[in-house]
Symmetry: C2
Subunit: 471 residues, 2 copies
């Protein structure tokens, strides 16, 4: 059986793969929504059954509870699995997540977010690309190797979680506890939870930004008030909050917190040269986001800002009127939310202190009698890897086999905090092997995975497992 014939069988299996992904998308496993915790747990169990059908030995690792708004909420268990236990083979650990970001049709989706819908060879649905599709690619690849009786030349371990979109609560501690057991014999780690730089050329990812997030609570009146009756005679918390939020960035989206850019690692000559080679079209990027103008339109500067500089994004305000129409209310308690992306060598503790000091300075400058409470949320460190190790080489060969071209080596602006945890605990190489295209719209409305990316994804992971056995 040649690889070509196996790849043809993968193409022929599309309708079945689609049906399985539809099942997964239909389980609305939004980890950030306490009311959907049962679905998130159900999703983990659903995947356990699939791995067990492939012969993997699986366990559900209990993580206990978390407290959300004063309520105890069970954490989804982590799915550990193992396929093969041949001491003569190396072992690859595969990570993915089965929870998703919130989504509602009214957010601006063209289709029901939890109903996988195919249009123009694109599969739309929350989680289709982030990260249910890629997780299923692993299962499909292994199933195909088994079907065609091809040797899986590495032992495969699985670690699939249900809290990635909510800070992977409990997972780092579980992995820490599993350092000398489940993680002890791992030789490689592979994660498919990022995206190509564009829409056509495959990439391997060797760097990620970290994140640190903040909540700014302003209170001052005991409950929401009628703006006619009380307007003009109270200090409005929302007036204070928007002022504070307005002082964090410049119009060009540069961070105004003094000293924050001084924490960024200087660029090496080697890294500097890397940017020149990368295939990236700024106009195409600008058009893909639908912007009239970007803060920079220079390719290198843009990639640098995206990959190796911090940024600050405002996400929204909790507690103010957010519905359609009008509501003449003075909100009593408002919580502004923003986050800062971290890059080497920024340390969350130091950055958090700089930010909170700056916020408190702003508050003093404001001089409002209201109460200001800046809170630091979860954080994750940035990560950069060596692209010349055996794990990256196997990934690159797999990409070339499937796509016919060498992948670009890119970095990502986003955070996959668990990457660094795996690297630290195993002491081995972590490969980020993205399967989805840049326009898959993870975290956004109309998330999708292209039919071709889904199928090439199965092929790439299958080839990667074969190539790993040669290292």
């Amino acid at each position: 059986m040649s690889l070509k014939q196996v790849f043809e069988d993968i193409d022929a299996s599309y309708e079945r793969y689609k049906a399985i992904l539809a099942e997964a998308v239909a389980i609305d496993s939004v980890s950030g929504d306490p009311t959907r915790r049962p679905q998130t747990i159900q999703m983990i169990k659903w995947m356990k059954e699939r791995l067990e059908k492939l012969g993997a030995k699986c366990t559900l690792e209990d993580l206990g509870h978390q407290t959300v708004d004063g309520k105890e909420l069970p954490l989804p268990p982590v799915l550990f699995g193992q396929l093969g236990d041949d001491k003569s083979k190396k072992t690859v650990l595969v990570y993915g997540h089965l929870d998703v970001q919130p989504a509602q049709k009214s957010d601006g989706w063209n289709t029901e977010p939890f109903v996988l819908t195919e249009k123009n060879e694109k599969l739309f649905g929350r989680g289709a690309s982030d990260d249910k599709g890629p997780v299923l690619c692993w299962a499909h690849a292994i199933e195909m190797l088994q079907k065609h009786k091809m040797d899986i030349s590495v032992n495969v371990k699985f670690c699939f979680e249900g809290m990635e979109e909510s800070g992977s609560v409990g997972l780092p501690e579980l992995l820490e506890r599993s350092k000398d057991t489940f993680l002890a014999d791992v030789d490689f780690v592979c994660i498919s939870d990022s995206y190509w730089l564009g829409t056509t050329k495959p990439c391997l990812t060797h760097g990620l930004r970290g994140i640190t997030s903040f909540k700014l609570e302003v209170t001052g009146i005991q409950q929401d008030l009628h703006s006619g009756v009380y307007g003009g005679v109270v200090h409005e918390p929302l007036q204070d909050l928007v002022w504070i939020m307005s002082q964090l960035t410049s119009v060009d989206n540069r961070i105004l917190i003094p000293g924050i850019y001084d924490e960024v690692a200087p660029m090496t000559k080697e890294e500097d040269e890397l940017y020149e080679k990368i295939d990236f079209d700024v106009s195409e990027f600008r058009e893909s986001v639908g912007a009239k103008k970007l803060p920079t339109e220079d390719k290198k500067t843009l990639l640098i800002r995206r990959w190796r500089e911090p940024c600050l994004s405002l996400h929204g305000i909790e507690g103010a009127f957010s519905g359609a129409g009008e509501k003449t209310v003075i909100p009593s308690k408002v919580i502004g939310k923003f986050s800062i992306r971290l890059v080497p060598d920024m340390k969350p503790e130091k950055v958090n202190k700089m930010v909170v000091d700056y916020l408190n300075d702003l508050w003093r400058k404001r001089g409002s009698p209201n109460t200001f409470n800046p809170r630091v949320g979860h954080d994750a460190l940035p990560w950069v890897a060596d692209t010349n190790d055996s794990n990256f080489r196997a990934g690159a060969r797999a990409m070339k086999l499937v796509h016919g071209v060498d992948p670009d080596y890119i970095r990502e602006g986003c955070s996959i905090p668990i990457t660094l945890t795996f690297q630290d605990l195993t002491g081995k190489s972590v490969l980020l092997l993205p399967l989805g295209a840049a326009d898959d719209m993870a975290h956004s409305q109309n998330e999708k995975i292209n039919k071709v990316n889904y199928l090439q994804g199965v092929k790439t992971l299958l080839a990667y497992l074969i190539e790993l056995g040669k290292e």
Copy 2:
């Protein structure tokens, strides 16, 4: 039958009155929520049946449709009613509204907002005080006069609408059309849709602020983006919006729009003296709103700011993340909402132009390539009345009969735009006769009407109908 005995019968009817109010509160007639339009229409029909049981001749005045977010939505009909058609009697027109502000338990209500709940002689529920309770007081008063075979010495007309909380869409036009028919023979107008200045002393209201409202839409990217992937390389609409919103007021909640205070009518000597007499405790007011400090703690200055000066309140932002927890999103389209309260002699057209000019100046100063679209919403004129006419005198005597004290003559910070419409179209006096206490929390969480105010309300309206007959 003495008035005292009738009043005793009103007190004895409390449980029945409460049950009727509970029925009304249970109909969640939120006019601002398109999905609840059927309930809003149902509420009007429910009231029609009650008036018909009292012998009133009623009609439902069709207002056609409105367009909300591109969808056609039927407007709730206006309920017109008439009880008595004796040409030898004068006619009073009674106005109220049966729609309510939005409310959800999760906003911070201690009880279900649409389940009337009695605690400590207070009846909690959305609409209990604004304005279903007062509307029912009219029905109870008339029922009681009929039960005790007391002459109703005026003809009574009713005008109850279902869109007050959403700008009374269609009502002014209907009244305009009814000027020479339904409104032709009206001698007095009475509205119970405002509040006492405090919690113990009754008031008559002779002034209202108007309102003009604004929506600031900022767009610039075609859909919500992942803040990790796109953070730092797009101009975030929310960063622009909070900056614009931060430039509208000072920390002491004074409006920063140049010239806006120049539009305010100068104070007369007579009016100036009125403030001195009013029974109002600033500390009590500050404590009731739960603030540490107010922008002014001088009684007269505070009442002036509340009644006869404009103010600007920020209500919230549509389109940004507003849920609990974290969402690492860059919102693509955000709409900031604020309103300005108007006082004599401010004209909405002139104020709107000043505001929009200022906003556009700010936007130019900002220099963002995003798209800014400031939109003017509904507006309403301010109103001031003569407290020495027969309508006010009858109201004052009714108050004294029930409460044993002369009422304070106050103004209100909020808008009841229809007041001015009735005054203009009938050419007669409009009396605002508040029944609820200052702490009833209209538009806010835990809205309530006190048991005592509900019962005294029935008595006051009954006495007012009797006293009107003497004028």
